[in-house]
Assembly symmetry: C5
Homo-oligomer: 314 residues x 5
């Protein structure tokens, strides 16, 4: 190296990752204040978050409520969130408007402002707006949820819609939590939506586009699909924890929340949560795994998850 | 359950449903005042509503007027609404503008601001705007009607159009009544538009997206289509009343109006109305079943329905 | 009928149709003033109108001028309109801007603000904007013309464009004259664009959507297409006058202008005009049937039509 | 003719065409002033115009510069325009911004604000915006150029874009010069883009839509394509001059500029120019036929064309 | 040449190209000041630029970081840029917002405001917005990056989006650097995206549309594809340096930055850089070729490239 040209010394920089801390992030006052509410004032705190999403009524329809009919009433989730001391509940605008009144302030609110039904095929999945950032601000929400279907053939429309939402959240100091979901026929041809390749890419896309927080799925390794994956993912088999650590590295300074997905047993759920938190996730966002349980069980598993997150509090 | 973590007591919460009451809903002053006019001041009142829709001239064409040619003249429906003391009449903007003059104030007005002809196929049904919220306000309307084709391949366009309408109605304090109709080739592949699966999903979507009131069809159970329904609907056969109760539960805090559909006999119509009201519906919105009858018969059946609703007044 | 509930008396209402009168319509002052100019101050008056449209240069190209080359020059139509004392001339914005100068005020102007060429196929016909309402106001026009292709697969785009135009015309007090033309592959499959079914439906759609005046074609009964028509039109054969009366009933309070279509003989044209006026039309809008004639003949037939309309003046 | 009705006398009207004169056109002050600069102050003047277009780098790519590599540098065209005393040069916005500085005022500027590459097929040709009217005004341009692909299946999008441009030019007093080019698969099926039918139709469309000046190609008669032409064009064979006179008649009060097209010999070019000017054109807009020649030759042919136009000056 | 008409003398004009100099370009004060920072104050200076782009995480996904995992952390690229004294770093908005804080001012920033994943096929490639010009200004960026897919079937959408971005950059005095990439099925049919035809055309398009700086690939000559190229490119084989000189000529007054593409050896990279600079390029924008190397090697190759650019400083 021609020393006469490179005169600057290395600045101490730690390329090894750890969970991003709110105080280290370059956030506007509004975003900082609201994320502080979610990650420090409510729920397990200490920089961790435990969120209760209930938009499955839109995404899947009432089918998800058959196993526990109480769950069809959003009051049910609000009671779980209140009694289980969740960091926030996640509602679509219509449900938020109809049900938050008696819990305002007590249970923080995240408004998901896009969504779709799963009735039409999702070969070119796109999640259209169902509300506005201003409407969420008016309801006292502390963050916006947005689903980005990474890799969908409709990604151009999605990115453009995302930019309009991001611009609004930046203007109003609202944190933007991105559901970064690989989806559509193109990703299915490349190994499927749950592969490490897909989730890892989704984590990076969310970070590149400006998510404040990202919600991701735990990668799944399916032997029969490995050959479809782009190199070098096609030969990469990792433990769940290592896979999640890889994904967290790709998310970089974007705190990662881990999705619950379909219902698991208590042990499976706790193990998944533990591995993800150890891998560098900042919190959990388990819907069906919480409210498809009866109230007592829901509060019980929530308490265990709460305890787990407390162990990762800083 | 680790008791040291779950310290909050259960708040008294009744997950069992009953018909939503206006005073329990978290509505803006404008929406509340206007819904009060529709559900308490006009029509049977006491929280029930009896609405007379006449947009079939747009949706189906003049074919619907052949059995009773008087019905082609909107004055006919206005006379039924006035003499039968309906809660409101529903017009497209053009008809409202041309015919409300002599009934203004006397017959409350709901303006339907989207619609389409049934000339092209509706595999990817979409109902474009035919008017604006401001125009309806200017005409003294008390609510906006909007058709949402739940599950249509065009749902993205529909949701985005809906958001723009909802934003306007929220801004102007106009109640938003959603015609939540499953439609399009995707739902036809999953058992058809009238199945419990379809109607139940539509009820929830309307609630999630922020309908103030929802108009739904009574689910129909067709044995030959059951196998096409998603689980667990494929094995669920309910009585009309139970089916409707299920749907009302999915609509939650969104009052349900029941559509009339094609013309029925007096007895069939009254039975349908009775079962729906007992199941938790808030009112009726029967078009062809009213104005396809001659004036005397129309007033007669309206009076019987009025009486039925009075029995459900609170 | 439970008399205790239906206490209101029948208001005197005449469901039988007659030609709508300007003074009976609920119009804004601007629309009323401008329609008064067209239907009372200029042309045959007394509530009738005789309009001279010349947008065929755009819709069909110069082919329509071969039989009478003078007609290629818009001065030709202006001279016919001036000397024949027409109610107004109809121009596209470009022609209006270039040619109205010497006739301003003397010949009232209607600006047609959408249109298309007939070069591409019209399976999903759509007529895009070619100008703006403000531009027409600036040119001193007394009305706006808009083509709505009823039943086209592109109807969603059409309706939405129409709403934007209607909103502007309402804001500026400009009457909106709708060319309600059934068009596109869907209507061709249902018996064709000129059937009573098609024209009748178009009349109602224009009225539902808020046309102030509607331009329609005289329905045609083609035996070989009857089977394709929806019930009960498939068995309905009416005389031209009865068919037109049916269509006028469907248009309701929207005054109907009758299109001329391709060139007819003097006798055929006069008979068609007579039957339509007797059926309840408010006027004629004959283009090719006027200006494809040489000046003397054009003025002659215009005078006869003028005389006919005078007979229907009120 | 019933004389009692037709009382107005014939106004002296000459339906025979001649070249439109600026002073006879009903133009806003801004359009008039700028067109005066182009047709009287610069170039051959006297109501004629000689324009130098150079947007082939965008439309065709650098292939057009191989025969004369100097032409790849826009300074080359600017020097031709300056030394050959052209009425104006035509640039895309990017080239105008980078090269006009040293010629500002000396060489009038027309900014072409739409365009496309010819890399994708043009079955449904559409020329998207590449700049704005305001940007052209800011650069001191004296007119706007816009390509309208007449008859393209994308004509709806084109017309709507055109309206937005026209509205801006009207607002800012900028003349609008329309490249009216028949294009797309539909016109190819009807005899091709260069037929009299196609060019004649394009001339009329530009006039109907509000072009201030129109750029057209000289029609070409191909015997083998005549059968594809709509009646009566399929049997119409005219001399170039008569064909052009027909086209000028269809353009009416819209001055016509004639395109050069691919490179011709000096004699062919002069003959074409002479015939077009005698047929009623207002000027020439020859690109490749000018700048594909070496400087001396380019100035030489320009001088001859200049002289020709002077002969048509008024 | 008729001397009496051509009286103007030739102005001294040098059609031979050299690298455009900032002081010769007609730029707004804001653009000039910001480009001065990039090409004179930071990096090798003297009118040359050495840029470090890192948006591959979005364009290709984390696959590009496997060979050097440190590179997944944007701090890595920032350290290279700071220690290697680059002219600027290029980030997507999300990464810029999260990582620039500690390097603000020290490392100039270019924000790339469109992008896409490579998961769906790119037959009709289009790069949607991922941010806004105002957002980049707010972050203290010195230029905007925009990818234009020249020749894509989606070019209409691309051009229109580009115009909106260009208008914003002009308004705010932000230099606009265009990634001019031939892409899509049409260019693949005409010899491929890396051919001289494709790159040469792209250079001209960027210049015509108003790029302030253009990023291009070095053309590649593939014998087996030559037959697919349009004339006369199909018979044109040039040395890399001559090919690049041809491309720079087509870019004209738009300074050219040369892309690195996939990773090369040190010698190949230096040779490529040398040839491009000698051919008239204004700088280098090598991403993977820099940060896929370990820190020491990255700084070493950067230093060599820096030295090379210094030799071309003016």
């Amino acid at each position: 190296m021609p020393a006469e040209l490179i005169t600057k010394e290395a600045r101490v920089t730690d390329f090894a990752r750890k969970r991003p801390r709110l105080q280290d992030l370059d956030l506007s006052p509004g975003k900082r204040a609201r994320l502080y509410r979610l990650f420090y004032e409510h729920g397990p705190g200490g920089g961790t978050g435990m969120f209760l999403p209930i938009d499955q009524g839109l995404e899947h329809g009432p089918v998800d409520f058959f196993s526990n009919p109480d769950a069809a009433n959003p009051q049910y989730q609000l009671e779980i969130a209140r009694r289980g001391d969740f960091s926030a509940i996640v509602f679509q605008p219509g449900i938020a408007k109809k049900h938050m009144r008696d819990y305002a302030g007590e249970v923080p609110l995240i408004v998901k402002i896009n969504g779709k039904t799963n009735i039409p095929p999702d070969a070119d999945a796109f999640s259209p707006l169902t509300g506005t950032v201003e409407e969420a601000v008016a309801m006292g929400a502390d963050a916006i949820g947005y689903t980005l279907y990474v890799g969908s053939p409709a990604q151009a429309e999605d990115f453009m819609q995302f930019v309009s939402v991001k611009t609004e959240t930046d203007r109003l100091g609202m944190p933007l939590i991105v559901w970064a979901y690989p989806r559509g026929e193109a990703i299915e041809k490349k190994g499927g939506r749950d592969s490490l390749y897909a989730v890892d890419y989704a984590a990076r896309v969310a970070s590149e586009l400006g998510a404040d927080v990202v919600k991701l799925n735990l990668p799944v390794f399916k032997k029969e699909r490995m050959a479809d994956l782009p190199k070098p993912y096609n030969e990469l088999m990792l433990s769940p924890k290592d896979a999640m650590a890889k994904v967290c590295a790709s998310a970089g300074r974007t705190p990662v929340l881990i999705s619950g997905g379909g219902k698991l047993s208590d042990d499976e759920l706790l193990q998944k949560a533990r591995e993800c938190m150890e891998a560098g996730c900042s919190g959990l966002i388990f819907g069906r795994n919480t409210w498809q349980r009866k109230m007592h069980d829901a509060l019980d598993i929530s308490a265990r998850l709460f305890e787990l997150l407390r162990q990762h509090a800083e």
